[in-house]
């Protein structure tokens, strides 16, 4: 992510709203991006400070240096810099050398060894060469880290697109709250919400979709806190995985609270991965077996993956499957409880209770450390299975519970 000072010059308040000057893919910008990609590539295998100096030379007297540095930051963030492998830990080497200082280029009464003599002595004691010693001396400082992997294979247009995304994220550094309206219930949105440990509050909009407010634990008590801004910024790309949405953030900028608005018309794109179809082989197996036995024309039920979200106040539950009756539209939800950590399980049980949905069927793997009586007072159908669920039993339960 960009540092605040690389974002700030691109922001402009205008009548209560905050506008970001995005970088357009015009010839000059594309050329700059191409130059930087090439320059960065040439520095593979070299220390970071050499790259820093090359970048400064490239900047020269250009006034668009915040853009150059921003593009460079995007390149650096996607790359890997690693410390040199050293035969002796640099702090240890420093201790050995500095015990002998100060030394000078020439000797005098109190300093019988020159700097060169001292390096020679230490080098031979450590069975290293002088040039090795000089390289190792500060090898643990970030400036000496080696650009080991330049990371992504950028095109100039990609780099500009990503830079613009980073600018939009940067706005949120100074944000105290985000409000989002989603038309669809894209599951990855909810996944990423949890991944970034954001506190949220969601409800169903009267005209469909969801309204979600994001803030953090202390927000209700310190209204203007920007403590969670970095998390909002980190999360933002997840929003672009949705089809139809809009977002409004309260941004504290130049001692004012400004509105920053984004919606699905934005040209910004997400680099976040959409999740794969299944979280576990249990789910994959279940879907495969269902398709084999009840799929296609023969079955009365259609199986869909994670198509319903149960809003539970400050959290959500997304059951693994939904079964919809092809004729009467009755629905049943299926949640498979496989191998999990006890804490996860405890929260899961709380959620199942809170959801209070009669048509939610639980398929519980016997190996799970979950005593049957803990699920006794839920309204749900619970089927236990030792290895894999018996599909016929599941379908019977679906018939009973669907509504």
């Amino acid at each position: 992510m960009l540092t605040g000072e690389l974002v700030r010059p691109r922001l402009h308040p205008r009548s209560g709203k905050l506008h970001v000057t995005m970088l357009k893919s015009k010839p000059q910008a594309l050329e700059t991006a191409a130059d930087l990609i090439a320059l960065f590539g040439q520095h593979a295998g070299q220390p970071q400070h050499i790259w820093d100096e090359a970048l400064e030379d490239y900047e020269g007297e250009r006034t668009d240096y915040t853009i150059i540095r921003g593009l460079a930051k995007v390149l650096e963030d996607a790359a890997t810099f690693v410390p040199l492998e050293t035969p002796i830990a640099p702090p240890e080497l420093r201790e050995i050398l500095f015990e002998r200082g100060p030394v000078f280029a020439t000797t005098d009464l109190f300093h019988p060894l020159t700097q060169q003599n001292t390096l020679e002595t230490v080098a031979s004691e450590l069975s290293l060469s002088i040039s090795q010693i000089e390289t190792l001396l500060f090898a643990d400082h970030p400036a000496e880290y080696i650009l080991a992997d330049v990371g992504a294979d950028w095109t100039p247009a990609d780099l500009i697109a990503r830079y613009n995304l980073e600018l939009a994220r940067g706005v949120l550094y100074w944000s105290s709250e985000m409000r989002i309206d989603l038309r669809d219930s894209y599951k990855d949105f909810w996944r990423y919400l949890k991944l970034f440990k954001l506190m949220f509050w969601a409800f169903v909009n009267p005209d469909g979709g969801y309204h979600v407010t994001l803030d953090g634990p202390i927000s209700p008590f310190v209204k203007s806190t920007t403590r969670y801004g970095r998390q909002f910024a980190a999360f933002l790309p997840a929003l672009f995985l949705c089809e139809q949405w809009q977002m409004d953030a309260d941004v504290h900028f130049s001692q004012k609270v400004l509105n920053y608005h984004l919606d699905s018309k934005t040209p910004l794109t997400s680099h976040f991965k959409r999740s794969g179809a299944f979280d576990s082989h249990m789910e994959a197996d279940f879907a495969a077996e269902f398709e084999a036995k009840f799929g296609n024309e023969r079955g009365e039920w259609a199986l869909t993956r994670e198509d319903e979200i149960l809003l539970l106040g400050d959290t959500v539950m997304i059951p693994d499957f939904a079964l919809t009756h092809k004729e009467d539209g009755r629905r049943a939800l299926i949640e498979i409880i496989g191998f999990w950590h006890p804490d996860y399980l405890r929260r899961k049980i709380e959620k199942i209770r809170a959801a209070n949905r009669r048509n939610l069927i639980l398929l519980v793997y016997e190996g799970v450390n979950l005593t049957r009586d803990r699920l006794q007072d839920t309204p749900n159908e619970v089927l236990y299975f030792p290895k894999k669920p018996v599909l016929k039993d599941v379908m019977d339960a679906v018939e009973r519970a669907a509504e």
Binding site: P9, H49, E61, R62, T63, D64, Y65, T66, P91, R94, E95, L97, F98, E99, R100, G101, P102, V103, F104, A105, D108, F110, H111, Q115, T118, E134, L137, F138, H141, P142, M199, W201, G216, P217, I218, P220, F221, V222, S224, T225, T226, R227, G313, D314, R353, D377
Partner: protein, 458 residues
Amino acid sequence: MSHAMKPSLTFQGGTLVLYDVDENFRVPAPFEWVKARWRCPAYHYTALLPWLREQGIRDTLPRWETLNLTLHDNRQPHDYQTESLNAWDAADRRGSIVLPTGAGKTFVAIQAIKRTQRSAVIVAPTIDLLHQWYARLVNAFQVEVGVYYGGEKIIKPLTVTTYHSAGDLIANQGSNFKLIIFDEVHHLPAPNWGETALMSPSPFRLGLTATYPEEYEQTNGRWRVDDLIGPIVYTKLIDDLAGDQLAEYRTERIRIDLTPEERAQYDADYAIYADFFRSHNLQRTYGPNWLSELMRRSAFDTEARRALLARKRILHLLSDAEEKKRMLDHLLREYAHEQTLIFNEYNAIVYDISRRHLIPALTGETKAAERKQILEAFQAGKYRAIVTSKVLNEGIDVPEAKIAIVLAGTANAREYIQRLGRVLRKVGNRQAVLFEVIARDTIEESQSQRRRPKKVRV
């Protein structure tokens, strides 16, 4: 349904959250019904304890440990230090102790930790002071001490952090510490910093400062230290403690010449810089904000950008002038038996000096353990000189240092005084000397003038 779980209290991101307590239950004032649960800032934890017990609400918050610390420091506290700690104890270990600079606030904090014998977190204003706290705590208790800031994040029962990083640490791990100490507590009223104290559940709180914030510094959206920490429990003024604690010192200004090449480059760059500066009346129009104005303009005005770059080259050239290197060489030889500190402005030049003379460098990149090792080896006389950038500016104790050589700096008077202060801790009757090496006929002449306050008092 009788599955209702036992009500409990948990710590969540700097707040207290009641689980399995419903909306109709009568809960005391700080709690608010937010997002389907009763919540309040963790700050209220201590005040709520009696109510929690009365209601039989399971308290899952405390993660702090009882420690068994012994003090490996034989110094006896001064009477005023003991008095201040007794006053803090009597105030249920909440509140601030106000002592003048040099009166041993760190020592008071160490005693407070020893009395408390519980996990503690210390919040310091700067990374440099964080490192100093780290070294003092390791030495005092001979235990592993955690540090939590941008460069390192290691949490231990005794952990030191900065105001900047404390928010994250306390939001996530605040319930790990029964005692929270705010060094230089006058920083706490700042909006972001005060939030930390609000998010902390620590029942024991100690603020330390020489200058308790004024009323006007604690209003208008700023926090009140009394509210967050407790009242002032003890005050001693500088006059109460004044003695002959300060060393005698002298300052010596050494002028060097630029080489002909340096001179030519300097003059060329100075012309670019000064032309722009004068023709745009920067100083007159923008006063002390002239530099940020220059930076702002440099993003669209090529002339401004050139002026800014010229200024940067000038500062770099002056910091690294050939004759300064020669002078440093000379001074280091002349004072071969004195403990010496060398100041420069840029890390890169600091490392050059370190390589050239094989002396340790202290910069923002130096990690806690190495920094401690360097300062101790210096104190012990194993290292004779340290070269540093801005690291030793504020409040770091280097009592053995008797020579300071300032090769480059700013016109900032505070910085100058603090650098002087580094060599002014009296040891025996030795006189301290501060050498200021400046380039003749350059901007350093006037900078040096400006950085000398009318009357030097430390």
